[in-house]
C-alpha cells in the first residue's frame, strides 16, 4: 500500500470504529438481543478491566478480553488512540482548522502517567474514582446521560410540533415512533440531573483541542498512558528509512507532536505517536516509513540509526521515582480523605443502588461507564453526585421520583461489564430489596386531605402488595362524611422499586418515598 492509502485506511477504520461504538450504544436501548456484547468497548479497555480487577481483588472473566488489548498495545503501541478510540476520533474531527504546530507544554505529557499511576494505586486501595477519566466511560456517560435525552427532546418536540401542520411528514414520524421507540430511541423521555455537567465536561475535553491538537490524548488520557507505556517497547513505530533533508514537514503535521526533527535527524517518541500515518503521507521525500521493528529503548537519531542499523526512536519522558512515590502518597491521601467523609460513616438516606449492587463491593467494581444508566428503560438510574460521597461520584443510583425500577426488567445487571451490578435472573431480581418505602402521613392525600387515593397500592408490583389499605370513615373539616382507604407500607414486603414514589400524584416530593433499605430481624 502507498502511504496515502495507509492514511485513508486509518481514517476509514476510525470512522467504522466510532460508528460501531455508537451503534452498540444505540443498540443498548433495544435490550439484549445483540449478538455482539453491548459492552464490548469496556471489555477491551485495559484501564477499566484491570482497574476493576485490582480494586475488587477478583478476576472478572468477561473483561479478560482486555488482555487482547494489552497484546495489541505491545505490537502496535498507541495505534488504539489513532485508529480505534472513538473519543480520539471525535477529537480528530472536532478540531480547529489549523493545527498548532508548537509543542507548547512539553512537561504536561507526564500528567497522564501520573493519573494512570494514581488510578492504579487508588484501585489497589479499592477505589475507582478516577475511572471517570477513562475515555470510553467519559464518552458513554456523555452519550447516555446528556446526548440521548437531548436528542429525544428534539425528536419528540419536533414530531409534536410538525405532526399536525405538515401531514406529508406523518408517515415518517409514525415509522420512527413504531420502529425506533424503545429500540434505537429510549422507550420514554429520561431526565438526568447531571446531564448538563456531563455535557460540559465533554465540551471542555473537546475545547482543549484549541490549545493544542488532541490535548486530551497527549496530556490527560490515562488509557492513552497505558498504551504509551506499552509503546515504549512496541514493535511498530515510524522511522526514517534513509537520511532526509530535515525539512520538518512531518513535525508540522504530527497531531501529537511526537516527532522532533533537529540537525541531528528525525526522532519520534513512540509513547506519543498514535500511528496516524500523517507523517508518512506528508513526507515530501518519502523517507518515513512505519515498520515492525524490535524496539530499541536507547535514544536514537536517524544518523546513528543508520549507522547501527537500528530504527530511529527516542523514549519519551519517563516517570521519575519522585512521581511514583508522589502518586502513591496522593492516592493514599485522597482515598483516606474520601473515607473520612460523612458518606463513609453513614449511608445517605437516598443512596439506593441498582438491584444486587449494594453489598457487592460496588464502589470497587463500578467503572462509572453508565451502561446501566443508558439501558434503564425508566430513567431511574442516574449518575450520582455526592450521595455516596466523592468516592461514588458518577456511580449509578436510583432517583425514584424520576423513574422506578421496573418489576419486569433486569437489564442493568445484564449490561454491567464488571459485574458491579450482578447478573440476576428476573425472579431473583424481583426479590432483591433495594430500598424501603415510607409514607408521609402529613402529606398523603387520604391521610391529610380526606380524599380517596391509593395510586401507590395500585402500582405496587409485589404480588401480594407491599402496601395495605385501611378503610376508614371520616368527617372532613367542612363536615362531610367521607370514606377513604389509607395506605400503609409493610416494610418487610417492600422491595423498594419506587414505582409508588414515582406515580404519587402529589406535586413536589411524593408522600411516599423510598429510602435506603433497612431489614429488621423477624419478630420472634
Amino acid at each position: 500500500m502507498t502511504a496515502t492509502r495507509w492514511r485513508r485506511a486509518r481514517q476509514i477504520i476510525q470512522i467504522i470504529s466510532t460508528a460501531f461504538f455508537f451503534l452498540l450504544a444505540f443498540l443498548t436501548y433495544r435490550g439484549l438481543e445483540s449478538p455482539i456484547p453491548l459492552d464490548l468497548y469496556f471489555r477491551i479497555d485495559p484501564l477499566a478491566a484491570f482497574g476493576a480487577m485490582i480494586a475488587s481483588r477478583a478476576i472478572i472473566v468477561a473483561m479478560l478480553l482486555a488482555l487482547a488489548a494489552v497484546g495489541f498495545g505491545f505490537v502496535f503501541g498507541r495505534a488504539w488512540c489513532g485508529w480505534l478510540c472513538p473519543l480520539g476520533a471525535l477529537l480528530d474531527w472536532i478540531s480547529p482548522r489549523a493545527w498548532h504546530v508548537a509543542e507548547a507544554h512539553k512537561n504536561w505529557k507526564i500528567v497522564k502517567y501520573v493519573l494512570l499511576l494514581v488510578v492504579f494505586f487508588a484501585a489497589w486501595l479499592g477505589n475507582l474514582s478516577l475511572m471517570v477519566l477513562d475515555p470510553i466511560t467519559l464518552l458513554n456517560r456523555t452519550f447516555s446521560s446528556a446526548a440521548m435525552p437531548t436528542l429525544n427532546v428534539i425528536v419528540v418536540s419536533g414530531e409534536t410540533a410538525l405532526y399536525p401542520i405538515v401531514p406529508p411528514l406523518q408517515p415518517l414520524f409514525d415509522w420512527i415512533e413504531q420502529n425506533w421507540r424503545g429500540t434505537i430511541l429510549p422507550a420514554q423521555q429520561t431526565f438526568y440531573q447531571l446531564g448538563w455537567m456531563l455535557a460540559l465536561v465533554f465540551v471542555g475535553v473537546v475545547a482543549l483541542n484549541w490549545i493544542v491538537p488532541r490535548f486530551w490524548c497527549r496530556y490527560l488520557c490515562p488509557l492513552g498512558a497505558v498504551y504509551a507505556w506499552q509503546a515504549k517497547i512496541s514493535f511498530l513505530r515510524p522511522r526514517a528509512v534513509k537520511d532526509c533533508s530535515h525539512c520538518a514537514a512531518c513535525m508540522r503535521v504530527c497531531p501529537t507532536s511526537a516527532i522532533a526533527v533537529t540537525k541531528d535527524g528525525f526522532t519520534v517518541d513512540p509513547a506519543e505517536c498514535v500511528v496516524c500515518m500523517d507523517c508518512v503521507t506528508e513526507c515530501p521525500e518519502s523517507v518515513i516509513a512505519i515498520n515492525f521493528q524490535i524496539a530499541d529503548r536507547r535514544p536514537q537519531t536517524a544518523d546513528n540509526a543508520k549507522a547501527s542499523g537500528q530504527p530511529s526512536a527516542v523514549c519519551g519522558r519517563v516517570v521519575s521515582r519522585r512521581h511514583f512515590i508522589g502518586s502513591a502518597l496522593a492516592s493514599i491521601g485522597a482515598v483516606a480523605l474520601f473515607r473520612s467523609a460523612p458518606a463513609a460513616a453513614r449511608d445517605d438516606p437516598w443512596l439506593i443502588r441498582p438491584p444486587g449492587a449494594r453489598d457487592n463491593s460496588f464502589l470497587a467494581k463500578c467503572i462509572r461507564c453508565a451502561e446501566c444508566v443508558k439501558i434503564c428503560p425508566t430513567g431511574v438510574l442516574q449518575p450520582s453526585l455526592f450521595e455516596s460521597g466523592l468516592e461514588g461520584f458518577w456511580t449509578p443510583i436510583l432517583t425514584t421520583r424520576l423513574g422506578y425500577c421496573d418489576y419486569s426488567c433486569n437489564a442493568c445487571g445484564q449490561v454491567c461489564p464488571t459485574g458491579a451490578i450482578p447478573l440476576l435472573a428476573l425472579d431473583e431480581k424481583r426479590q432483591r430489596v433495594i430500598g424501603t418505602a415510607y409514607i408521609d402521613q402529613n402529606r398523603c392525600i387520604p391521610w391529610a386531605s380526606y380524599r380517596p387515593c391509593v395510586v401507590c397500592e395500585e402500582m405496587c408490583p409485589v404480588p401480594d402488595k407491599a402496601i395495605k389499605l385501611e378503610p376508614v370513615d371520616l368527617i372532613s373539616p367542612d363536615g362531610k362524611k367521607v370514606h377513604v382507604q389509607r395506605p400503609r407500607v409493610v416494610p418487610d414486603m417492600c422491595i423498594g422499586c419506587g414505582i409508588c414514589e414515582y406515580k404519587c400524584p402529589l406535586t413536589a416530593s411524593a408522600a411516599i418515598r423510598v429510602y435506603a433499605p433497612m431489614a429488621l430481624p423477624p419478630i420472634m
Binding site: 419528540v156 422507550a187 421496573d406 426488567c409 380524599r451 395510586v455 402500582m459 367521607v482 400524584p505
Partner: protein, 355 residues
C-alpha cells in the same frame, strides 16, 4: 434564487415570529397552577348535571395547553351502536375455548358485521397495563380473545386492525411481548401499534363534571371502529377495573384522573365511546389487582361479556365475577347517573350462550 444567507435570515425571522407569537399567547393564559385537588366527592343528583358542570372546573395544565395551541378534537368518529332492534343489549358466553367464546359472544350481539364494515379502520384496545406477567396471571387481556377478534374484523373486511394500549409500568414494547398479545395478533394479520406521545391531542370533555380536558391518543378518536377488550380485575382504588376504567389507557396524563378517580373515569367515558366492549372473563384477577402476579388470586371463569353499553357490561361483570352490586362501584353508579349507560337488568335484553 435565494442566497444561503438570505434563506437563513428568513428562516430565523419566521421562527422568531412564530415562537414569539406562541410565547405571547402563552403569557395571556393563566399560569398553570399546581395540580389541584378536586373538591371532596359529593353525590350528584342526576338533575344537577348543569349546575355541577358549571361549578367544577379545576384549572389544569392540560386545560391551558388545550386553549393555547391546538383546536380540541370534538368527538370520536367511532360511536357505540344504539341497541339493534331484536338484538340483545348484552351478551354473555360461557365455554372453555377463548376463541370460540369470542365468536359466540359477538354473534350473540348480532355478529361482527354489525360493527365492522368493509374498509373500516379498526382499533382494538385490550388491557396491557404492565410488562410484569404473562396472560396466566390475568393482569392482561387473554391473547386468544384479542387474536380472534382481529381475525373476525379482518374477515368482516376491515382495512386494517391495530391493537394498542399504553402500560402504566414497564415499556409498551415489552408489555406487548410479555402479554402474549403481540405474537397472537401478528400471527393473524393484525398490527401492534405503540401509542407515541406526539400523537396525543388535547380533547375537551364538555360533559365531564370533574375532568374537563385531557390528552387522548388521536387515532382512537379517528378510527372507524374501536373495540375495547378489558380483562376483569380487582383494583385497589376503583375496586374493579373493567371496560370504563380500562379506557384510561388512551389518555396520557393519568395522574390527574387519579385525583378524583371514580368521577373522572365516568367523565372520560363521556367522550371516549368504543363501538363495542368485550370483557374478558376467561381468567379473572380476584385480588391484588391491577398488577397481580400470584396464581392464587386468579379465578377461571371461562366467560366473555359483550355490550355496546359500557355501564351494562361493567355492571354485569361486577355481579357475575365479583359478586358485588353495581351501585357499590362508584364509577359505575356515577356513569349510570350521568346517562352513559344502564344497569337496570330487568329492562335490558340479555342473551346468554354456552359453547
Amino acid at each position: 434564487m435565494l442566497s444561503r444567507r438570505e434563506f437563513i435570515r428568513r428562516s430565523i425571522l419566521y421562527a422568531l415570529t412564530i415562537s414569539g407569537g406562541n410565547a405571547l399567547a402563552g403569557c395571556s393564559q393563566p399560569a398553570p397552577t399546581a395540580t389541584q385537588l378536586p373538591p371532596t366527592a359529593t353525590p350528584f343528583p342526576p338533575t344537577a348535571l348543569a349546575r355541577a358542570t358549571a361549578t367544577l372546573a379545576p384549572t389544569t395544565a392540560a386545560t391551558r395547553v388545550a386553549n393555547a395551541t391546538v383546536t380540541p378534537v370534538p368527538a370520536m368518529t367511532a360511536t357505540p351502536l344504539a341497541p339493534i332492534a331484536g338484538e340483545p343489549h348484552l351478551a354473555v358466553a360461557h365455554g372453555t375455548s377463548p376463541a370460540a367464546l369470542t365468536r359466540a359472544v359477538v354473534d350473540a350481539l348480532g355478529g361482527i358485521s354489525k360493527f365492522v364494515k368493509a374498509g373500516n379502520d379498526v382499533i382494538i384496545k385490550p388491557n396491557m397495563c404492565n410488562a410484569q406477567n404473562g396472560p396466566e396471571y390475568a393482569s392482561t387481556t387473554n391473547p386468544e380473545v384479542v387474536a380472534e377478534l382481529v381475525k373476525m374484523c379482518l374477515e368482516a373486511g376491515a382495512k386494517r386492525v391495530r391493537v394498542m394500549d399504553s402500560p402504566f409500568s414497564g415499556t409498551a414494547v415489552i408489555a406487548y411481548v410479555k402479554s402474549g398479545i403481540r405474537e397472537a395478533v401478528e400471527k393473524v394479520g393484525g398490527q401492534m401499534e405503540l401509542m407515541a406521545s406526539n400523537k396525543h391531542v388535547p380533547v375537551d370533555f364538555p360533559n365531564g363534571r370533574s375532568l374537563k380536558s385531557g390528552k387522548v391518543y388521536q387515532d382512537i378518536l379517528k378510527a372507524d371502529v374501536v373495540i375495547n377488550v378489558p380483562i376483569a380485575k380487582h383494583h385497589g382504588s376503583a375496586q374493579l377495573t373493567l371496560a370504563m376504567k380500562g379506557l384510561m389507557g388512551v389518555v396520557q396524563d393519568r395522574n390527574s384522573i387519579h385525583l378524583a378517580l371514580d368521577q373522572r373515569i365516568a367523565d372520560l367515558n363521556t367522550v371516549i365511546k368504543p363501538t363495542l366492549n368485550i370483557i374478558d372473563g376467561v381468567r379473572v384477577l380476584m385480588n391484588h389487582g391491577p398488577t397481580g402476579g400470584n396464581l392464587r388470586d386468579v379465578k377461571m371463569a371461562n366467560t366473555l361479556l359483550a355490550s355496546c353499553d359500557p355501564v351494562a357490561a361493567d355492571a354485569y361483570a361486577t355481579q357475575l365475577f365479583f359478586d358485588k352490586k353495581p351501585q357499590d362501584i362508584d364509577y359505575i353508579k356515577i356513569a349510570a347517573e350521568m346517562g352513559l349507560g344502564r344497569y337496570d337488568f330487568s329492562n335490558l335484553r340479555i342473551r346468554e350462550v354456552t359453547v
